[in-house]
Structure formats: structure tokens, C-alpha cells
Symmetry: C2
Subunit: 206 residues, 2 copies
């Protein structure tokens, strides 16, 4: 099981499998099949079996997958069997929504600190967090060895903030600013741009 | 140019190209190359040339792409050379953030109405919008022939609301609830789940 050998497109589907399995588990369901999972997720059963088999033998022909076991393995593979500390930079509406979101805790993450550069916002509370000054960001990230940031600053500031985050040791950025970021090798960026998602669908509309 | 023949993975990259081109255009830049675009976006120049060539001949060898022309063509291909009306269902923190987001207008969309089922929220204002009662949602969507919805309700309610949206004529749903939706053929769903994006990155972290 070599991390470099599994295509990223497969890695991208594992969180979707894990999410569906965790929902089945919450309903008290203990086993599932690639067929059932495929119907829930909208991916073919064959694709699911192929993806999961990349990581070893999980299901038995005819008896399906043990949900608790597959959840445990996927959490292990994705390294979300822990609580990664995350910072949020940019406390506009989106930053607020992400700071107050309560869906991190059983999925591998916890928000640790939130930052903004606006003197009117610094010191204010967002949920349980006090908004900290971005001038102290690099220092605090280094001190706490934080590896993950969510970036919700305006597009014009995003690259500069990303550079600072990477310099401070951040290795994974979830970028909400509607621009592509340039980062060093070894740093991962994922993008959330609702308009880009909408545009991908309008192509198919009449 | 048959919509069904272009792989969806290519369609998914076009909004990223368009976004980068629009940013270059805002800076007053008139031409670009697949190399330059590739460096900005982090996709190989060959991939960009291949993707764009699916839709006809755009660039000339040696002179690159005309940015205004390529923007116009991509807007046309993605059908965002207009202003699609969009509803938001679920006026929690994320719904608020999306209602107040100001990045839709030159990218093909405008928020038309926002809904919630909480009597305490109905009638309140979010930016310029009054929160409407979800019991009137289907009727208003039909009346206004709205095709696109952003869904920011809790996971437990998402499938039921999606069913109602589709019944009312919605053909494209951007789903923020952390579950997979089952929808009829011909209805598109895109997912935004920040935790799934984070999990896709932790796989690569030490």
C-alpha cells in the first residue's frame, strides 16, 4: 500500500464512502454491500469494489462489508482516526459559518484558531473562538504545529496569506477564495468555489 | 459538439479555466498561452490544450489564446452568458453566507429567493432577501421556473427537501448537506462538504 501509487481520484472517493458508511452506522446498520452503497452514493458497485480493493481484502463474496470494520479501515487510511487541528483565516460570513459548523468532530478535525486582519473583528467572539490577529498567525501556527488551514479571505489576498501559511508549516489548504493558488511541492490545496460547481451543472441545463 | 460526448471531468475543469481567464482579464491582460494558464491553475499545458480543443479551434500556434474570445466561448459553452436564478433552502450560517456572497453576478447567477422552515426565521431579512416559508417553496419555484437550488439544510432533512425541489422543476442542486442525494435522471447534483475535502488531503499528510 504505497500512498503514491493510489490515484488521487480514488482517494477523493474514500471520504464519500466513509460518510455514507457512517450514516448507515448511525442508523444501527452493521453490514452493507457494494450494491447498496452504490445506490446510496450514486457510484457503480463495481467501481466501489475496485476502489476499496486497492487497500486490501475487506468484503467476503456474498456476505458484504462489515460497516464498523470498513469505517475503521477508511478512517485509518485517510488518517482521520484522530483530531487534526485546523485554523480558519478570514472571518467574513463564510469564515463564521465554518467556525460555527458542528460537523468536524467525529470526522477527524477540530477548529483550533480563527484569524482576521480587521481591527474591528480582532478580539470578537465567533462561537467559542476569539478572533485573533493575522499578524500573530505564523507564530501561533508554528507553536502549535498546525498543518491544516481553511482560507476564506478575499481573492486578492489569498495568495499572500497562503504563502504565509505554507511558510509557517501548513501542508493542506482548503481554499474558498475564487482563485487558484500556487504552493510549494508537498503542499495540498483543495478548492471550494460554489459558482464553479454551479457552472459545471449549467452546461447540462436547457 | 455533442453535450453527451464530452466527459464530465473536462466540463468540471472549464469553470476553473474561465475563472483564471476572468482574473487575467480583470488585470487588463489580453492574451495567454496554455503554458501560462497551466502555471496559474496547476494543470499541465497539454491537458488544457486538449480540453479546450474539444470545443473547436481557439488558439493559434505561437500566438496563444485571445482571452476575451476564450472567455466568451467558455461562457457560451457553460451557458453562463446569462443570469440563472437560484434559490437557497436552509438559512443557517451557511445559507446566510451564500445569500450574502457577492461573487455570483458576473459569473452567470443571481440569488432569487431564500427559504427556511423555522417560524422564527421566516420574514427576517438576510441582506436584500426576506426569508420565505418552505411551505411556499414548490409553488414559487414553479411560478418562476427556477432550475437551480443550493441546499443548506441539515443532513436529516436534505433528501426530503431535494425531492420537493425536483418535483417543483429544479434540475441542478448544489448540496451542502453531508449526505449523498438520490435524484431522478436528468437532475444534476454537486456536493460541497468541507470535511470530505479535508479528508482527501489528510491522506497525504504525515
Amino acid at each position: 500500500m504505497n500512498a503514491e501509487k493510489i490515484p488521487d481520484i480514488i482517494i477523493g472517493r474514500l471520504p464519500v464512502y466513509l460518510r455514507a458508511l457512517q450514516r448507515l452506522s448511525e442508523k444501527g446498520i452493521l453490514t452493507t454491500s457494494s450494491q447498496e452503497l452504490g445506490e446510496i452514493i450514486g457510484i457503480s458497485a463495481a467501481q466501489i469494489r475496485k476502489d476499496i480493493s486497492q487497500f486490501g481484502e475487506f468484503g467476503k463474496q456474498g456476505t458484504g462489508y462489515s460497516i464498523p470494520f470498513l469505517i475503521e479501515r477508511l478512517r485509518d487510511i485517510l488518517k482521520v482516526d484522530r483530531a487534526w487541528e485546523v485554523v480558519i483565516v478570514g472571518m467574513g460570513d463564510m469564515g463564521h459559518a465554518l467556525a460555527r459548523y458542528n460537523g468536524y468532530s467525529n470526522r477527524g478535525f477540530q477548529i483550533r484558531m480563527v484569524f482576521d486582519n480587521d481591527p474591528k473583528k480582532i478580539g470578537q467572539k465567533v462561537g467559542e473562538f476569539e478572533i485573533l490577529d493575522t499578524t500573530k498567525m505564523a507564530e501561533k501556527i508554528k507553536q502549535n504545529k498546525i498543518k491544516i488551514a481553511m482560507l476564506t479571505v478575499p481573492a486578492a489576498a489569498a495568495q499572500e496569506v497562503a504563502d504565509e501559511l505554507v511558510k509557517a508549516g501548513v501542508k493542506a489548504i482548503l481554499n474558498y477564495a475564487p482563485i487558484s493558488l500556487n504552493v510549494a511541492n508537498g503542499v495540498r490545496v483543495q478548492y471550494i468555489d460554489p459558482v464553479a460547481h454551479l457552472q459545471r451543472m449549467t452546461y447540462y441545463l436547457d
